[in-house]
């Protein structure tokens, strides 16, 4: 059961709508595209409307308009508003003016992401990848396998560098190892998508037809 639709008239209507849209999308399997297009447009329209509502109700009104209306002492909000206005009107403004809020936006986002990647992922993962002195032979073997996979994969990204026979062999091995990794990821993706299909079938059989408990 998806559990999203409550019992009663509204729930029944919602279930029927979901069923119709599901069948409309599946009608593409027999070459019917109009229902699929309608469903796609419905999804795009609903998503845009929903995201606009969230932006207005949960971001703009409580975080911008209300504080500005309550007091004029929020200079940082006025500055924010100015920067957003510059971005919105960027098409008609000189490039140097638009570059300021764009640079702040990109720089801030990249700064947070890069800092987090180093302190949260790179350093802790390097530490976790090192086998401690007291580790058993299993840990040492796992570490060695990790190195044996990581080094060739990194070497496979060497481009435009003169390479000897050994380096070329290692890079080729790295490419194959990377392909193996992509294959494994594809397997996860397949399982993930199959679970979605089975869930839709379960919805039709259980929530709609009521034959699956």
């Amino acid at each position: 059961m998806s559990g999203f639709f409550e019992a009663g008239g509204a729930g029944t209507v919602a279930t029927w709508l979901a069923v119709l849209v599901t069948l409309g999308v599946w009608s593409y399997l027999i070459g019917e595209r109009r229902l699929l297009r309608i469903s796609q447009l419905l999804l795009a329209g609903l998503a845009t409307g929903y995201l606009s509502l969230i932006a207005i109700r949960e971001v703009l009104i409580p975080q911008l308009i209300k504080p500005l209306a309550a007091s004029s002492a929020h200079l940082e909000l006025v500055l924010d508003l100015l920067l957003v206005a510059v971005l919105v009107a960027g098409r008609w403004l000189p490039r140097r003016v638009v570059a300021v809020p764009a640079a702040i936006l990109v720089g801030g986002t990249v700064g947070y992401a890069l800092g987090g990647a180093v302190t949260g992922t790179l350093l802790p993962q390097l530490a976790a990848g090192m086998a401690p002195r007291a580790a058993g032979p299993g840990d040492a073997l796992a570490g060695a396998i990790g190195v044996a996979i990581t080094v060739p994969v990194l070497l496979s990204f060497l481009h435009g560098v003169p390479r000897g026979r050994l380096l070329t062999g290692a890079a080729t091995t790295g490419r194959w190892l990377m392909l193996g990794g992509l294959g494994a990821w594809f397997g996860f993706l397949l399982l993930s998508r199959l679970a979605l299909l089975v869930d839709r079938i379960g919805f039709l059989l259980g929530d709609w037809l009521g034959v699956l408990r």
Binding site: G31, I54, G108, A128, A195, L196, I201
Partner: protein, 328 residues
């Protein structure tokens, strides 16, 4: 009349029958026969094109029907034990170690397209938290996650869970910078109630566990990178769809995540562990319908067969060419 390929199965209305013409305007008999043959050919072409669309869909329709039949087959599913059960046990232990009334921060940032895969595990975790007497604060950093969070909070309220147990912290815009803001400023002044007052004092350090439901752009990786360095005492557990597993599995190996349920089998195992406990949850027990293991196993077998059939020929050709090159 011909259809463009883009029109697919669209059927044109039948052409009106020709009005009877006076004998002097009639074309020679041969031409009449020819135009009749053209008409028949066009109609049969139209029929063929429509039926080719149906024919192309027959294998997929057959797969849908077979998966539907497989959904009724009991007793077939994923093999229990090993890493699958261990993942469920990790999450159960992380939640089981909480004291009654412990505050837990749940970040619901699933993706609408992949949420059905982790819905069962997510609801099992929420039921587990309720069973252990934890208080839950729900936050989202993506629009889709917010939609799921609203629906799940409404479902919990429908099951009889009061607002003193589930606090809605709403949507926070800004992506990773918003996570940093949450880590530095806590839940903020907007939330009200005794639970909100309790967790406002010490910021995120007030929480005993963070449970991240991933799938959208903000997920376990963002939490490990942005929250953990700033609030190192906050343990982080995660539930993610399978496709994110390669990205987040190393964090479980390094201990940065205390628990990770990242595959459907692990989610099923965990949900069954929660259901087996049999304690009351709201007005009833945790009895969510789990995805059919038989249908998924059958679908995987079909997928493997299709992959083998489609790639087998090209692999054989490649091997033959390589063998010939080796000989020459």
């Amino acid at each position: 009349m011909t259809e463009s390929p883009d029109e697919g199965g669209r059927r044109e209305p039948p052409e009106p029958a020709e009005a009877p013409q006076p004998p002097e305007e009639l074309e020679p008999a041969g031409a009449d026969v020819e135009s009749g043959a053209d008409q028949v050919q066009q109609q049969s072409g139209r029929r063929t094109r429509w039926s080719s669309g149906v024919r192309a869909g027959i294998p997929t329709l057959a797969l849908l029907v077979l998966l539907a039949i497989a959904s009724f087959v009991p007793g077939i599913g994923f093999a229990a034990g090993g890493a699958t059960e261990a993942a469920g046990r990790d999450l159960e232990a992380a939640i089981g170690g909480l004291q009654t009334g412990a505050p837990v921060l749940v970040d619901i940032d699933g993706d609408l397209g992949t949420y059905p895969e982790i819905r069962y595990a997510t609801r099992a975790a929420l039921a587990d938290l309720m069973l252990r007497g934890a208080n839950v604060a729900v936050v989202s950093f993506s629009g889709e996650g917010r939609a799921i969070a609203v629906a799940e909070i409404a479902r919990l309220r429908g099951l009889g869970v009061g607002p003193d147990r589930v606090l809605d912290l709403g949507f926070r815009s800004g992506g990773e910078p918003a996570l940093v803001q949450l880590a530095s400023e806590g839940i903020g002044p907007d939330a009200s109630g005794s639970f909100a007052d309790d967790v406002r004092k010490d910021g995120l350090a007030s929480f005993r566990l963070a449970l991240v439901i991933g799938g959208a752009e903000i997920g376990p990786r963002s939490w490990v990178e942005q929250i953990q360095p700033r609030v190192p005492k906050l343990p982080i557990a995660a539930i993610t769809p399978s496709f994110l597993l390669p990205e987040v599995l190393p964090y479980r190996g390094s201990g940065q995540l205390v628990a990770l349920v990242g595959t459907l089998p692990a989610g099923l195992a965990y949900g069954q562990q929660v259901a087996a406990r049999g304690a009351d949850f709201g007005p009833g027990r945790f009895a969510e319908r789990s995805p059919s293991g038989a249908a998924i196993v059958f679908g995987m077998l079909v997928a493997i067969a299709v992959l083998l059939a489609s790639s087998g020929g090209s692999l054989a050709g490649w091997a033959r060419a390589a063998w010939k090159r080796g000989r020459s």
